[in-house]
Structure formats: structure tokens, C-alpha cells
Amino acid sequence: MQYVTLNDGHKMPQLGFGVFQVPDLNVAEEAVSDALDTGYRLIDTAAAYANEEAVGKAINNSSVDRDDIFVTSKLWVDHFTYEKAKQGIDDSLNKLGLDYIDLYLLHQPYGDIAGAWRALIEAQKAGKIKSIGVSNFAPDQLMNLELMSDVKPAMNQIEVSPWFQEHDAV
């Protein structure tokens, strides 16, 4: 596996496995087990994918060490206030059944971003999350977040494909 080093020093596998649009928990659990067998060490889920339980089960039942697996999850926009974000982080941890999440993202750039971001920073300090970041932020929204806070996101997860290469953002 190849790794990238995030701006907070944590290492992240450069190739991972996503579970968007796999709402059936049995299918999702089997897919993650198969992915771990295949050699994937990064699993990308989200509260909105409604399969964090299945991801956690597959990881906890795997012979691969937890520390060798990098788990990403994301806070959904209906939790984008400081108070709701704190609850959302704990919900993700409970559903995953894990002691920590490697990377937790603000899934979309809408709502009280400053409040939700503050909750992520606190959860990171408390050891619940190793790295914090965002998703679907346009370059100017990223710049604005950096002006709101001393903590810079370690990741901006965005759509990139041969047809949508995003050379300005990446």
C-alpha cells in the first residue's frame, strides 16, 4: 500500500474502499470484509450512508488489526450546529463500535460550519477522532474555513474523475 501524510502528521492509505449507496447492512458488512481480504486498508463511510454499523462489524470481526485500518466517516448536514455535531460524532462512534475514527469530515458545506467544526476540533483533542476535514468544499469555502479557525482541515474529499478533473481545486 502507498500512503500519503496529512497536514497533521497522520498517514492515510492512498487507495481505499467506499460504501456509498450500500444501505443493506448485510451487503455492506460483506463488502467491507471482502475489501479487507482484498487488501484495502481505508474504508470510507458516512452517517448519511446509513451503514456505519456494518462497517464497524466487519472491522471488529476482521483479523486485520484496528490500528492498520483507516476509517473515514462524515457528519451529515442535519447535525451542523455545535451541539448537534457533538451528538453526531458520538452517534458515529457508537454505530461503528470503535474507540476512535481516523478521519471525520463535514460532509457538505452548508449550515453552521463554524459550530460543527469547533465540535470536531474538540473531539480530536479528546482523542475520539485522529484527523478532521471537510468534503465538497469549493476552494473559496475552504479558504473561508481557514479564516474561521486555527485548525486547518487535513482533507477535502471532492469528486474527481477523468471527466471532472478539478485541476483548480487539486
Partner: protein
């Protein structure tokens, strides 16, 4: 990956997971990378994240829940 980006393909089929994982034994040369660059249509396969009408239709329910 040669652009330094982390990639996260999804499949529920184990053979496809293996196919997508099988990327560590080759490199695209500069000409290949230029050819890939030329494929860009600068068009999302999802929706325009800066269009309020698209945001409302996709996230409307969740944003309503946020306000309550």
C-alpha cells in the same frame, strides 16, 4: 493516484474490488497523463454544489431538520 490524490472506489463485487486494487504495478508516462488531462469535461456527474436550486432539491429535507 499519480496526482497525489487519495481514491476510494466502491464495488459490492469481490472481483471488481480486486480489479480496482490492482494499480500498484504500472505507471502512466507523461504522454498518457496529458492524454488523460484532455478527457476533462469539467462537469460533475452528481450536481452543481453552488446551485441553490440543486442544493434545495437534494438537501432540502436535511436542512429543514437542521433548522428545527
Amino acid at each position: 493516484m499519480q496526482r497525489g490524490i487519495v481514491v476510494i472506489p466502491k464495488s459490492v463485487h469481490k472481483a471488481r474490488m480486486a480489479e480496482n486494487f490492482n494499480v500498484f504495478d504500472f505507471n502512466l508516462d507523461d504522454d498518457d497523463m496529458k492524454l488523460m488531462s484532455s478527457l476533462d469535461k469539467n462537469e460533475s456527474q452528481f450536481f452543481d454544489h453552488r446551485d441553490p436550486a440543486a442544493i434545495e432539491s437534494i438537501f432540502g429535507q436535511s436542512l429543514k431538520a437542521l433548522r428545527n
